[in-house]
């Protein structure tokens, strides 16, 4: 529930510039979809928002302060892989949130607080449809169940900003649609600002209130990594007035996707 202001953001690794001149302001409660060709720096952008990496230049403000250069509970994250802790069962994964938040030097809450944490976790497990998998380790959960658990865990942390790094990239199409519904519901309930990186244009249009395309505008044929990507297209979507097929086609062309038909089909449905 915080606005994000990014101004003049730059990121280089040595000589190679990944991002340059990135400017964007996201109001509280917006759902930003970031799309772009592979390697265009959208995941880097997300990791900078997370605090896992630091920008080489420019400012990122979340709420009313520049972001702390390390991950904090202000920003929650769901990764595509390693999204939950493999050494804990589903239930323990959710309890860990309260343990970390107020567990003191043992990293564990006891007594009445543990009881209430357990209740919250139980409610959350039911909310995401994992009550039956309470005592299973992530290794025995399907990909979709793991991602549901990851989202539940992240939401229990009550982040102001939810960052999603291709969260559904490894899931089957059917499961993906289920996850879209779940995510939309949770977003409506909690109202946090969401920034999602995705490869799937259809998903970007279906879920986001705004689609941002990352691409390089400047090219140096002698030194391809001289210039970085920036936001080349910023499309605000109305929840009621969904994107037109033309918009989708335009973005798809920018990203150079080969899955245009499926993208349009997903959006139309």
């Amino acid at each position: 529930m915080s606005r994000i202001v990014v101004h003049g953001l730059e990121k280089s690794y040595g000589d190679a510039r990944v991002l340059e001149r990135v400017n964007v302001t996201a109001e509280a409660g917006e759902f930003l979809s970031l799309v772009g060709a592979s390697g265009c720096g959208k995941s880097t952008f997300l990791r900078i928002l997370l605090g896992q990496e630091q920008q080489s230049g420019g400012v990122v403000v979340v709420g009313d302060r520049p972001i702390v250069p390390e991950p904090t509970p202000q920003r929650g994250i769901v990764f595509q892989r390693y999204s939950v802790f493999p050494h804990l069962t589903a239930m323990q994964n959710l309890l860990l949130v309260e343990d970390f938040r107020s567990g003191g030097p043992f990293g564990r809450v006891f007594g009445a607080r543990r009881k209430s944490a357990r209740q919250q976790a139980e409610t959350m497990l039911e909310r995401v449809g994992l009550a039956h998998a309470r005592d299973l380790y992530p290794a025995s959960l399907s990909g979709g169940m793991q991602q549901r658990l990851a989202i539940a865990q992240t939401l229990l942390g009550r982040p102001q900003i939810l960052l999603l790094d291709e969260p559904f990239g490894a899931l089957d199409p059917g499961i993906r649609v289920e996850m879209h519904e779940l995510l939309t519901e949770l977003w409506t309930e909690h109202g946090m600002t969401v920034v999602m990186v995705t490869h799937d244009i259809g998903e970007a249009f279906k879920l986001g209130t705004r689609v941002l395309v990352f691409d390089k505008v400047r090219h140096d044929p002698q030194f391809p990594s001289a210039y970085g990507a920036t936001i080349t297209y910023d499309l605000k979507l109305d929840r009621k007035n969904r994107a037109s097929a033309q918009d989708v086609a335009k973005v798809a062309a920018m990203v150079g996707t080969t899955r245009l038909d499926s993208a349009i089909a997903t959006t139309a449905s």
Binding site: L50, G51, Q52, E70, P71, T72, P73, R75, G76, I77, F79, R81, Y82, S83, F85, P86, H87, L88, L96, V97, D99, F100, R101, G103, P105, F106, G107, R108, Y137, P138, A139, S140, Q153, T154, G157, P159
Partner: protein, 294 residues
């Protein structure tokens, strides 16, 4: 053209035996019984070779000491295990075993503790890594047995020197292994733990320790090999009891009937320790050992 005849198809009856297909060597699996049999073969081969050679030598010279018969070895071993020593009144086998295992476990225990504390600190905290990793890396390549005289001079001939040798011998490798393991933790997990409010210490407790526990146990299993080596070396040089001491003591009398059972006994102890550690790992970290093919 390609119509399927609807009736009167000649379906070949299923073959009575599974047809023998020649699979690639890497795909030809072994049944449970077959695996047991194959696994037992090398043991049987060694046993038979020994029995033949022993019988041959004893036939020529009944007082031959080099390849004693199983009966001779058993009686020597049995005496050591049940008949009190005339001088000290101890049951020698048990006194030796007890003394050796205490040294072994104390040494490996100290090394494990060091590996856990230093390894996690080096792997998880960049400042500690910058401070200690070069040192540990150098210490790692010092041959521990070359330190043995120094330890005996500095610490005397008592238990401390032997335990220190074992600890110093196995700890550096374990520290490095654990540190590497911690550094290999998926950055996603560390980032996520931080977004959930973990601080450096609670992340050690709730993320790093449970994640490296299976590796630590594997580390101990691997370290036990060198640990036995250092134990026996230390006992051979300065000791008054212990499995290694006994072997080197009776070597003077060519008492193969004691040495061979002792070697077998050490092997048995090592195998049991290893098995117990595997069970421990399953008990502590069930998530790291998913049940397969049930």
């Amino acid at each position: 053209m390609n119509t399927v005849p609807e009736t009167g198809i000649d379906v070949a009856p299923p073959p009575r035996r599974r047809p023998r297909v020649r699979l690639r060597l890497i795909n030809a699996t072994v049944s449970r019984g077959g695996a047991l049999l194959l696994g037992a073969l090398p043991f049987a081969a060694v046993a038979i070779a020994y029995l033949l050679a022993s019988a041959q030598r004893l036939a020529v010279n009944p007082s031959d000491k080099l390849l004693p018969s199983p009966a001779q070895m058993w009686s020597a071993f049995f005496d050591l295990a049940t008949v009190p020593d005339k001088r000290s009144g101890d049951l020698i086998l048990w006194a030796d075993t007890f003394a050796s295992l205490i040294r072994l476990f104390a040494g490996v225990g100290v090394a494990t503790l060091a590996a856990l504390c230093l390894g996690v600190a080096i792997g998880f905290i960049p400042r500690v890594r910058a401070f200690l990793l070069p040192f540990v890396t150098v210490v790692c390549v010092i041959p521990p047995l070359a330190l043995l005289p120094i330890l005996f001079i500095a610490l005397g001939l008592g238990e401390t020197a032997k335990i220190t040798l074992i600890a110093v011998g196995v700890a550096p490798v374990m520290v490095r292994d654990i540190a590497n393991r911690v550094m290999e933790l998926p950055p996603e997990l560390v980032a996520k733990a931080q977004t959930l409010g973990g601080n450096s210490w609670t992340m050690v407790l709730r993320l790093v320790l449970p994640q490296i526990m299976p590796r630590l146990i594997t580390c101990v299993r691997l370290a036990l090999g060198p640990a036995w080596l250092f134990l026996i070396a230390a006992e051979a040089i300065a000791s008054t009891e212990g499995l290694g001491y006994r072997i080197f003591l009776v070597r003077r009398y060519l008492s193969m009937d004691v040495i061979l059972p002792y070697v077998a006994w050490i092997t048995l102890l090592a195998v049991i320790t290893d098995w117990l550690l595997v069970r421990l790992s399953h008990f502590i970290s069930p998530w790291a050992h998913p049940v397969q093919n049930r």
